[in-house]
Assembly symmetry: D2
Homo-oligomer: 366 residues x 4
């Protein structure tokens, strides 16, 4: 089931960029949770195209419809089906690309794998597919919030413009308003301004940039994560690398941590606030694949958008050399719209693991 | 099934560091593959303790027994059970740690999750668990080799000692002999010498270091990977982050790729050797989550070993402050022994995806 | 994922009896299969309410919409979403039942399990849920047909009116037209007439009856089925017992076979038509959990419809004794409409197993 | 993972009849359960060959070894590996069968599926494989018992010798001692005596017989079962049809229930003992796929043993006609030894569903 994610709180997504719409089915959601379409819409609006002047101008309301699983405002424990219609599809914009493989896109690999493909806007490989993830993630996030868990993603770097280290150290779990203060979703205003400038600049050159998102989670209980294969960071890594345009994941000290010695890297234990805590958090909130009650902290790398408005060399489906000039409406930088997507995937992983942990460790007591 | 990995070629591992032994069950292996215990042993010997003077001196032959699934030297298609006995367990060495949580180990989180734990050598959280992965990976690797696929992992950096960029660019798929030429498994002799020096130096100070492993795979067909969630890089990321001591994963250009513009990062297509190829490989062999026929290239970050022979601050199971001096026999750097483990996990992911791809796309033709 | 079925050809169903509609997502369908909404509609029309004078008069066109996964008339290998709107829902008919548990329905158990329920028409527990199964099964059946496999279900008994043993022995794989010749879907005309008479008679008394469906499949290759747990008959049994109102499953000789001795029951082997065949088929087409190339033959028992138009004793949600008089529009016998549902589930099991078998045994050759 | 069963309490079995032994890995067992090898051995002794004069004389102690997952007498939450060595294997007894397909055995289908097979005693298709199920089931059964659940299987019919209907109605949940009072495991002494007589009689003729096992479970909470596909009876049906030699499954009224009218078949609700109860139990303890708190009652049909000591017609692996005279040591009737196996599978299904139910419905409260 390559289009399903999660073992107990499971989502299944479907839909293509220029078909009738995008959907998701959530199976295993706990019953009796109050949830409205409006609450889901809030998150969809954060990933929506056309939301600011640094993202694609494609005009989609991305309005969610609830088709099942919710009765009189509460989840019933049965599958929740959510649907978002495509309304501003312009398949004609893709006529040229029908027979040419766009560099660093999935055109060639889908053709190679399946023997045919839906060329309209990338079909299933379009990032519009993530609508279903965000809609489902909104429900997972509401459950997390009900347990006192704070989860927030934000941009720490666009191209080579990064939040200063001290600002990053001081930011804690940023409030939603801090992240949403600018369209670039970096909670450090000066850096955000420079990032926006850079995005506009590369767009004016028909080019694109990528960046790094950091996600932090506070308030998780110790115990989430299922060794040896379903370690919490393993499932987070999979969740993040399953997103379009991602090229890397690190938890806690990450790649930089390999430059430290063990004596510098280890997190000592102490008693604080009446429970076992670590004095530092290079582990990033997990030890041995299980949450330790400290903040979960991880980074995700997003490559520069593959579609650029410049002439590129490629081949067509007959293997003839061809030139391709990017068309369609695209983001010069996907990272700002990816922030709610990262949050959604993190929330989905956490609820799933919370339920798995409870099943084994809280169902029976001996 | 947190101790199982893979959907069609599935491994299930079991066993603790100081119990009777470590095992693995492989379910779904294609029948009729010729395989011997000796072939599996070759890979186990590469991860074995005591193999060189820069690893733990624990003396384990790690001799594999085949308990099922192979008849007259060939796989039968039924579950293959492999077993390695523990012979040099010294549980008494862990008496002090029974009631103290070792910093940056899994002692505290296992206790928090399960309410009790096997403290002998970390029990299930010990890296001895990876014996099962390596044994199973040897079978997967043999299948890959039979299809002309070359797979090789090696160390590119220990602490801050890295292979020169030109050497890395030139190394291609290193031969096994090049990697095994030194105990540190870096195919660049001068760098390897410096790495060994560094490991010995930190060990003499009772300290530890980490590093980075790169894995490369040549000869994969285009088409492996199952979007949208089971992208090839997503399952590789999960596989790698499921390994003890890993903190990061990147594919292709990775985090560094976020510093490029789209026009610099995109891989143009061309015809070469009669098939569609890319002129560069910043994608790292995957596009849209599916292999494109170029070399698969990914990196894995390993933190410095948590066990150090220095006094550290911690708490005991009653929450009282405590001091802990590391004992037992440990690796000052786990990265050299992790090289065959990374290869094993990569091979397991690839065979599983190969079978999944074939099931959907080659079973029926219309 | 309790609302998903199948490991490689996987369906996920959603929707309630009186909500917006019913849907299904098919993940893992082979690409390039030509399929139209009209072909799917044929099967939906066979399970549709209001199709004859012996079934419920609820008026639903059950018109299927294709929302994803099919491009220019062919499957693309990505998830296929199918949707059927509810149009003749009359939730008011269920007002009385909102607080009373209908005997032998799922009202009480859904309330006990989830703590709340959608009382309109049974919500998710309604047999309308099987629309998604039938729609997906139509695609699976088309693949089977393309491989020369014939699959046909039909009614062998309603209440105590059964096809004569000789007629059953002689019927082979009945043609679709033979089954559809009467609304009761028994291919033996005289028996069918008596069955129809019985259904009308019990309906006139506000009562209901059940019966037995037999399903036969010809042309399967030997080798389908995955011991030890995913035996072909085990997955068929699960598929059938997952249908509303089913109480039993038997394959081949079934319960009656327990009255024979081994010497009477065993199927001898012989060469016939150039391949290994059995002289009899008490095994029902499977041996050791794997298809042997003979006709697959199994029976499914359906209990009498729980909703009857008579006064019944029950309790309400406060535990007070209550009387309930069945309302709403119901089938006096669900078995005729269950025939295409049994076929759909059988087709889904077979395609899934065909792909699983091919993955392990045909991907690699040594 | 065809050799794994269960979603949260998962067992994976391995091993062949005449290889080194048989094993099972249990993943997901709740921690802190006290369990000893002796407790597991009790159940293994009930399925052991050579236990009485009506079963195979093969001499196997079937002594279980615990290889992992239990520390100081308690489960740790990590995988439990159990192993039973084969000690009385006589592969030479199977020389003749190496090239001849035994009628109604799995020889031909394994050969057809995998292209090769282990002919010694049926290899993996041997019922010795169920040792792993019984060992794991003993742990599941202990958990059930700790929750006050009584689970008991027993034989209701051998060949055409059945418990009288009144005796069956009166037997309730028989005590273990009642079932074990005779080697045939029928709790009605007079019937048991006749059954034993019949088994001895057919054995003396080199023939075999089958029969029916009934399993009853008392004390389950309402709410177990995961519609729509993982209904409790669906997973029980799969579990039972995954056993060697089974040909049918029915729950509650089963096939006989199809002879009743709805007005006769429905189970009315009433308040009893302070909770919602049914006045009758034709549903067999499940409604809508979910346990309703009444006794779970189901039947399983076992065919007569395929191996008989008579000359049978078959073909050899070259397709030449051949005669085969059964050799080896076999049960003239497998049903008595299948009683603990049915109990084991039922216990495994129930614990798995209990954990799944708790995960969704008890982890979070809103």
């Amino acid at each position: 089931m390559p289009n399903s994610f999660g073992k107990l709180f499971t989502i299944t997504t479907w839909g293509e960029s220029h078909g009738p719409g995008i959907g998701v089915v959530i199976d295993g959601c706990p019953p009796n949770l109050p949830i409205t379409a409006a609450e889901i819409q809030v998150e969809l609006d954060r990933r929506r195209p056309g939301q600011s002047d640094i993202v694609t101008p494609r005009k989609e309301a991305d309005a969610v419809e609830i088709l099942s699983g919710i009765h009189e405002g509460r989840t019933t424990g049965t599958p929740i089906a959510l649907f978002v219609r495509n309304t501003d599809a312009r398949p004609a914009a893709y006529d040229e690309m029908k027979d040419k493989f766009r560099p660093s896109h999935a055109d060639f690999t889908y053709q190679a794998k399946y023997g045919l493909r839906d060329p309209r806007g990338g079909g299933r490989s379009s990032a519009r597919e993530t609508i279903g993830r965000v809609a489902a993630g909104a429900i997972a996030a509401k459950i997390l919030a009900s347990q006192g868990v704070e989860l927030r993603a934000f941009i720490t770097r666009i191209h080579d413009i990064a939040m200063p280290a001290e600002a990053l150290a001081a930011v804690g779990i940023p409030a939603l308003a801090e992240v949403e203060a600018t369209p670039v979703r970096c909670p450090h205003p000066a850096t955000a301004a420079a990032m926006i400038e850079r995005i506009k600049s590369v767009r004016s050159q028909g080019d694109s940039v990528g960046g790094v998102i950091q996600c932090r989670v506070r308030g998780l209980p110790p115990g989430l994560g299922e060794p040896v294969f379903d370690r919490l960071e393993a499932d987070l890594a999979k969740a993040m690398l399953s997103l379009p345009a991602t090229k890397g994941f690190e938890i806690g000290s990450g790649f930089a941590g390999t430059l430290l010695r063990g004596s510098q890297h280890n997190d000592s234990f102490e008693m604080r606030d009446g429970r076992v805590r670590t004095t530092t958090n290079r582990s990033g909130g997990v030890q041995g694949g299980i949450s330790n009650g400290e903040d979960l902290v991880f980074n995700v790398a997003f490559k520069p958008t593959a579609t650029i408005l410049q002439t590129q060399q490629t081949v067509d489906s007959q293997g003839r050399p061809a030139e391709l000039m990017g068309k369609g409406r695209h983001d010069p930088c996907v990272v700002p719209r990816a922030v709610p997507i990262v949050e959604a995937m993190a929330a989905l992983v956490l609820i799933d693991h919370w339920m798995r942990h409870a099943a084994q460790n809280q169902t029976f007591k001996f």
